[in-house]
């Protein structure tokens, strides 16, 4: 379950933002993507997750191995915490949500509607979703937004357990989770402005 990214260029709105990014993510490895706002971290992660096509270069990952968590958690406010998790567990062919509920300390909130949770509790529920996917490679975009210190520690533990059981994680985050992680600073990969506008890009017609 190795994720290989070779010479990847990613584009946002038809303009290349990062060029020539290469890395390999082996089992039990964590890689933290760093860089200033707007450099293209989210675009890079979305491209690796397969949500948008690569402008150049390749992303090689085993089929059905990626789990993606973005800024928005994909929660339904009129479903309870357990119903939200059970839905995603079924979509990913899993049954048991107890482990995910316990890992993010959600057992007291199981029957609350997701709409009545605080921002941090919603985020914890969104992250608990990763555990019910049973996918080995996690792609996390700013996972710790609106989490307090205790919840960040819970999250760090969950990632640590995931890594020690042979999983891997690609994270874009600004805070130190205390993980044994490699750092990928995407600053040097910034695309030269205007030089690589994609010709024939059909965004204007979509």
């Amino acid at each position: 379950m190795v994720l290989r990214v070779k010479n990847l260029s990613v584009a946002r709105g038809g303009v290349a933002v990062l060029e020539g990014v290469s890395f390999t993510l082996a089992p039990s490895d964590a890689l933290v993507v760093k860089g200033p706002n707007g450099i293209g971290k989210t675009t890079l992660l979305r491209t690796v997750a397969g949500l948008q096509p690569a402008f150049k270069g390749t992303v090689e990952a085993p089929e059905d191995s990626l789990a993606y968590a973005a800024h928005s958690d994909g929660l339904k406010s009129m479903l309870s915490v357990a119903e939200n998790l059970e839905f995603w567990a079924h979509v990913f062919g899993q049954k048991d949500i107890t482990q995910a509920v316990d890992a993010f300390d959600l057992s007291d909130l199981r029957n609350r509607l997701a709409g009545s949770l605080s921002a941090g509790q919603k985020r914890r529920l969104g992250l608990a979703r990763l555990l019910v996917t049973a996918r080995p490679i996690w792609i996390l975009d700013e996972p710790t937004v609106s989490l307090d210190t205790a919840s960040v520690a819970l999250f760090a533990q969950a990632v640590q357990r995931h890594l020690s059981s042979g999983g891997s994680a690609l994270l874009a985050t600004h805070i130190d989770l205390g993980l044994q992680a490699n750092i990928l600073d995407v600053g040097p990969f910034k695309a030269v402005a205007g030089a690589t506008a994609i010709s024939g890009y059909d965004e204007a017609f979509l």
Partner: protein
């Protein structure tokens, strides 16, 4: 897939889910038509199949932008695209859920509303048959429109404009089937055409919907 269908149905029935919107609109149209065209029962009998079909179509149109827009706003569609479920299956299930929450109540309520419009007794069966055959096509075509406009804020207007021309064949043959049924004429031509349209769009449009959804998610 079953989990997605179950979730969509639960969401539709819970507060703010929009179940009943279509049927309430249908009821309003049907109740108001006799007031606006006058109480002459011969005229009402004549226009009943067409009015019932038009009301059902507009009721269907009313709830289309909810099919995918809500899932897009809260990020569910992004996560769904990375899930093992193919997007073709997602849009098919979404259309099925829309049909079950909008189309089926319309089909069930149509005979009752037919009474309000003085529909002749022999027309009831064919009205129900035409709606049961035609409303799945409305949901599937509507899901295609919802997929086309999913990223747009206030995409409802564009959605209606894009979808209405695609609805016209279904409306023509559906209303024709109901009219011929009510007048006791031979129904096989519009029946077969309507069935053909429905099965054709059910077979083909989910692929188009999934394709435009992928483009819109970029």
């Amino acid at each position: 897939m079953r989990a997605l269908l179950k979730r969509d149905l639960i969401l539709a029935f819970r507060a703010g889910g929009g179940f009943g919107l279509g049927i309430a609109f249908f009821l309003i149209v049907v109740v108001l038509v006799p007031f606006s065209v006058g109480p002459e029962s011969g005229l009402l009998t004549k226009i009943a199949p067409g009015v019932l079909w038009l009301g059902a179509l507009l009721a269907c149109l009313l709830s289309l932008d909810r099919i995918l827009a809500l899932d897009w706003e809260d990020g569910t569609l992004d996560l769904m695209a990375t899930a093992p479920l193919p997007l073709e299956a997602v849009v098919t299930v979404k259309a099925l859920a829309h049909w079950m929450t909008t189309g089926v109540p319309l089909v069930v309520a149509a005979p009752l509303f037919g009474v309000l419009l003085n529909l002749p007794p022999q027309g009831f069966v064919w009205l129900v048959v035409s709606l049961a055959l035609g409303t799945p096509a409305l949901s599937v075509i509507g899901t295609f429109g919802a997929a086309l406009t999913v990223g747009l804020k206030r995409g409802g207007l564009l959605l209606s404009l894009l979808i209405l021309p695609l609805y016209v064949p279904t409306l023509i043959f559906g209303a024709e089937l109901a009219r011929r049924g009510a007048e006791g004429q031979a129904v096989s031509t519009p029946l077969l055409m309507l069935a053909g349209i429905s099965f054709g769009v059910i077979a083909l449009l989910p692929f188009a919907s999934a394709l435009v959804l992928r483009v819109n998610l970029r």
